[in-house]
Subunit: 306 residues, 2 copies
């Protein structure tokens, strides 16, 4: 089978397995409702399409999306310096991937995001990209260490340089520059991974599969651990403000979102990452020595969580 | 007196008079609390500063800001093609203005925005800019006509071409391209107005003053008219979604916000425009023939409200 189709089929199966795992874990929440992902299949006018799956008002998850897409067409203008030939034949691209954002009800449980993607052009240029990052409303250091340890374990199976390199990349990427805050406790981020003398396409694909497969065990463990933690109305207010920051990151900096908005992507699939509710309060400053102040003090680059 | 200082002082006095008018009208709301603007003075490291005034949890207004600023410094890179000299002496700029966004509690009352500004460079280049636009959660055609009629009246005192030209400019500017929706019912928008054979600097300043002075009578009238309108929980939910669109416009398209974020502006003053709460729901489609559907049908360019 054609390698790009093999990758595509694998991303589809990843979407299936993650949706199943999240539905199963959400059913263990206390409200006893049985929520399933709602699927929308869509076609892109210029070529390809996707399978958007949205989860709303579950026991544990308030709003989440697990999206698969595989699109193709003429290479967009902003990528035309990427190894393009000079012939008059228009180069084409093919892009496929899975994108996830999960917003839980409980402010003591973190928001999570993952993306894994593959891109190739008719010129022969291709690459993998992706990342996972965790955005706690309240930073729990045990959860942050668990999260980073799981990512390091996954990375180390493939290359001992991956975790330190991609952890730093995540610190730099998931950064809200105008707030001088990281979005959360980071994770890993990588882009434009292509073959080299020491690493084949098959090896890179195996790494991306490892990352994709790490998502469900990580987040279902965090769901099970945190789902019954008590919280106050003040905690919910703080959650709104942290979600506001998430909205700021996604609309101002997130490359996937910007790419989607600028290239006439399916808007409801792109913006499924936004929370059900968010808030902004003028110049909110947490109380000294509060959990909110402690969280802000940990939203910075360069913290070693392993 | 130096003209730029005269303009600056007038913008300060405009901030004062608008704050007074809004406080007075808000006190006529039903909850009988007496809320005042909270003032923060700030200095900009590179030169100048501002007077941010924020109004929170009033009777009628939930969250609003009326901000004055006057900043100066070396011309930023993105403006260096605007009539710059080729000498090695760095050109400087001076920018002053008033910016307002008001978010009411009642979903039957519109959000309003106004900006008036003056910019000059040491090269001698200068211009005025500004605009007012109205963003109803539910479009009330009587209010939209009243609003546009007031703006046309103000414009027509100065130039019969202003209203049609600047109304069209507002339709194009206050447009959420990825949603294919206007932000609201528009208003007027203008930029880089400078002197010509038929129009002096004094005449342009008089026009900008007319626009600034039109704000308080327009919005206090809309506050008085709409403050006691009944609404349901479903109306509040819709307000959250419309506020979500407001957030999308401000973070993705608004030039003042983007300029502020990119030039290390005072972040809390820039983002005072964001509502206290906002929301997103996946693929929300209003009921046929509902007020929500009617509102969406009126969020388009080119509607003649006068």
């Amino acid at each position: 089978m054609n390698f790009k189709l093999e990758i595509t089929e694998w991303f589809k199966s990843l979407q299936d397995s993650i949706c199943n795992a999240l539905e199963e874990e959400d059913a263990n929440g206390s409200s006893n409702v049985s929520v399933k992902f709602k699927e929308d299949n869509w076609l892109r006018e210029e070529g390809g399409g996707g399978r958007t799956r949205v989860f709303q008002n579950g026991n544990i998850i308030e709003k989440g999306g697990v999206n698969f897409s595989a699109v193709h067409g003429e290479v967009p203008a902003f990528l035309q310096n990427e190894g393009q030939t000079s012939s008059s034949i228009k180069d084409t691209f093919y892009a496929t991937g899975v994108s996830i954002v999960i917003h839980p009800h409980n402010p003591m449980m973190p928001i999570i995001h993952m993306n894994v993607r593959y891109f190739e052009m008719s010129t022969g240029v291709w690459w993998f990209g992706g990342g996972i990052d965790l955005t706690p409303h309240y930073v729990n250091e045990e959860d942050a260490r668990f999260f980073h340890h799981a990512l390091k374990t996954a990375c180390d199976k493939h290359d001992p340089k991956y975790y330190p390199d991609f952890k730093k990349w995540a610190d730099d990427y998931f950064f809200i520059n105008h707030r001088k805050e990281t979005r959360g406790v980071g994770g890993i981020f990588f882009d434009k991974l292509t073959q080299s003398a020491s690493c084949s396409k098959e090896q890179l694909f195996a790494f991306v599969q490892e990352v994709g497969n790490s998502f469900a065990p990580i987040y279902t463990a965090l769901m099970a651990k945190n789902k019954n933690l008590p919280f106050t109305e003040a905690n919910k207010q703080w959650q709104l403000l942290r979600r506001g920051r998430y909205v700021e990151f996604n609309l101002v900096y997130d490359k996937g979102t910007k790419f989607g908005l600028e290239t006439n992507g399916r808007i409801e699939s792109i913006l499924m990452s936004l929370p059900k509710t968010a808030g902004w309060e003028y110049n909110f400053i947490p109380e000294p020595n509060s959990p909110e102040e402690k969280t802000l003090s940990l939203l910075k680059k360069g913290i070693d969580w392993v």
